[in-house]
């Protein structure tokens, strides 16, 4: 029984519910941690409860009430009693099934975590911690900062939510479009963190990808008329559809052209493509929809050789127009190499100021290999290796560097 994994999957829901019941993120987090300790003690002997999520929420709620009673001193007993009775009332009057998407506490919590009054890095950290159930050291690794720095960032953000009275609710229609942007960015980053964990030996952390997709689905249900929400969901589904074949049995990386396309997940592809078509009909393109469309083109090709690179390049041109970032330009260069050749692509890549990004060096190395410049390619693979922290990516790059050196000599 992997109690830690069950907790990580379920804790977001419990934390979100307890924040609503007690009006405090700290109380909610502490109570869910307490419930975890109880589970570690009881589950191995008693077996898994029939509904672990509900068990965690109920146990955490009871622990929070116990703790508040214990800690309430004489002068604030009255205030504590009021808080407790309000929390109990809310809990008892709760419908068994949520009434609709708006009633999902996690959605309220994500809008609080992604409030524009918080710094973007704090938004992502809070969402991963409170909704993704990640521990502070894991989040610190994902952001390449010291654990103490990340802990301070989380503490400061939670303090601001409480002191400035940042509301715990889904924004109204008028504010929704603006408030949605950071939420979508955060969900996308959570997925990416799950898809390629920035360090460690697991290339893929399924639960993070699953959590991001779950949040994206929830957003799509709440805002079916928001094309970028559908675009984000489509992008995640189409990317997820290739997950099973993205790594070989030994854990090594398998690139898109070498993947066994018959093993791509047809159901996810069909769902993603349906969403992409719905977005195209609306004709309000945005960055997520365009990236989803690029992935849909890949999903459409039975073999790598059949890929419609002309269409992909046209979509990248469109993407670069709406989000002119060096990373988009780098990805566009990959399509450019297929359409106009590696020399044109290399010239485009060399203009980019992305020296600190490992994929910049590995894409350069690949283009140099195709141009027959094996010694330069080996140097570029070394530069990529110096920056990559994921084990599967590292062993892939090491293999490439060795091969490039052999060809050069």
């Amino acid at each position: 029984m992997d109690i830690a994994a069950i907790f990580r999957a379920e804790s977001g829901r419990s934390v979100a519910t307890l924040v609503r019941l007690f009006g405090s993120i700290d109380i909610a987090e502490e109570a869910v941690q307490d419930a975890f300790a109880v589970a570690l003690e009881r589950w191995p002997a008693d077996g898994l409860p029939p509904n672990p999520g509900a068990w965690i929420t109920t146990t955490a709620r009871n622990r929070a009430i116990d703790r508040l009673r214990r800690e309430s001193s004489r002068h604030d007993r009255h205030a504590q009693a009021a808080l407790l009775s309000a929390a109990s009332e809310k809990y008892e009057s709760e419908p068994i099934e949520p009434v609709g998407p708006v009633s999902d506490d996690r959605l309220r919590l994500i809008f609080t975590c992604c409030h524009p009054a918080l710094a973007p890095e704090a938004q992502i950290a809070l969402t991963l911690r409170l909704l993704g159930g990640l521990q502070t050291p894991e989040i610190a690794r994902a952001f390449l900062v010291q654990e103490a720095t990340m802990a301070a960032r989380l503490t400061r953000a939670k303090k601001k939510i409480a002191a400035a009275n940042i509301p715990y609710r889904v924004p109204g229609d008028a504010e929704l479009p603006d408030r949605l942007k950071p939420v979508l960015a955060v969900v996308y980053l959570i997925f990416n963190e799950g898809y390629t964990a920035s360090s460690g030996d697991d290339l893929i952390r399924e639960d993070l990808c699953g959590e991001a997709i779950r949040l994206a689905r929830l957003l799509a249900r709440l805002m079916p008329d928001e094309p970028e929400v559908l675009g984000l969901l489509a992008l995640l589904l189409l990317t997820e559809s290739r997950r099973a074949v993205r790594t070989a049995v030994d854990g090594s990386l398998v690139l898109l052209p070498d993947q066994d396309r018959t093993r791509w997940d047809g159901e996810l592809i069909a769902e993603g493509q349906t969403l992409v078509r719905a977005c195209l009909r609306r004709n309000q393109p945005g960055p997520y929809q365009i990236q989803a469309a690029i992935n849909a083109v890949h999903s459409d090709s039975p073999t790598a050789a059949d890929t419609d690179w002309g269409q992909i390049l046209a979509l990248y041109d469109q993407l670069l127009a709406v989000s002119p970032t060096p990373v988009v330009a780098l990805n566009r260069a990959v399509a450019l190499a297929e359409v106009k050749g590696p020399a044109v692509a290399l010239a485009a890549v060399d203009d980019l100021d992305l020296g600190a990004y490992h994929l910049f060096h590995s894409i350069r190395a690949d283009l140099l290999t195709r141009l027959g410049c094996h010694a330069d390619a080996a140097t570029a693979y070394d530069a990529a290796l110096a920056l990559a922290s994921n084990a599967a990516e590292r062993s892939f790059l090491e293999g490439c560097a060795v091969a490039a050196r052999q060809r050069a000599s």
């Binding site: 002068h75 604030d76 205030a79 409030h115 009054a117 002191a163 400035a164 009275n165 940042i166 509301p167 924004p171 504010e175």
Partner: protein
């Protein structure tokens, strides 16, 4: 309900706007004030004399030291402020957005500390 300070920031030494711009500003701020008073959100508000008019008083040991000028030697100084009652930060940020438009300057929103329990 939380009480917020909405502080208007001015850059010291910046050119004074044209007279008609200032007149419009007064009109807009006045309309905004009347509106938040009618809505029951107003606690207090007003414009301040320039920061070089300020005097700093500091109790030090048994003495009280008085010095001329503002306390922070910053280019940006508070030019005026409101204190408002709002349900939450979203409401305060929405008010601050309108305040910033009316007075044509950035507005910093800061919650007051809760009153200590007796």
């Amino acid at each position: 309900m939380t009480q917020y300070l909405m502080a208007v920031y001015m850059v010291e030494g910046e050119a004074v706007p044209a007279d008609d711009v200032i007149q419009q500003m007064y009109k807009d701020v006045d309309a905004f004030n009347q509106e938040i008073q009618a809505a029951g959100k107003w606690v207090f508000g007003g414009g301040l004399q320039p920061a070089d008019i300020a005097t700093v008083v500091k109790a030090q040991g048994g003495d009280v030291i008085t010095t001329d000028g503002p306390f922070p030697e910053a280019k940006e100084q508070i030019g005026g402020f409101w204190i408002v009652n709002c349900a939450d930060l979203d409401e305060a940020l929405a008010l601050a957005g309108r305040a910033s438009r009316a007075c044509q300057a950035p507005v910093e929103v800061r919650p007051f500390q809760d009153e200590p329990e007796a």
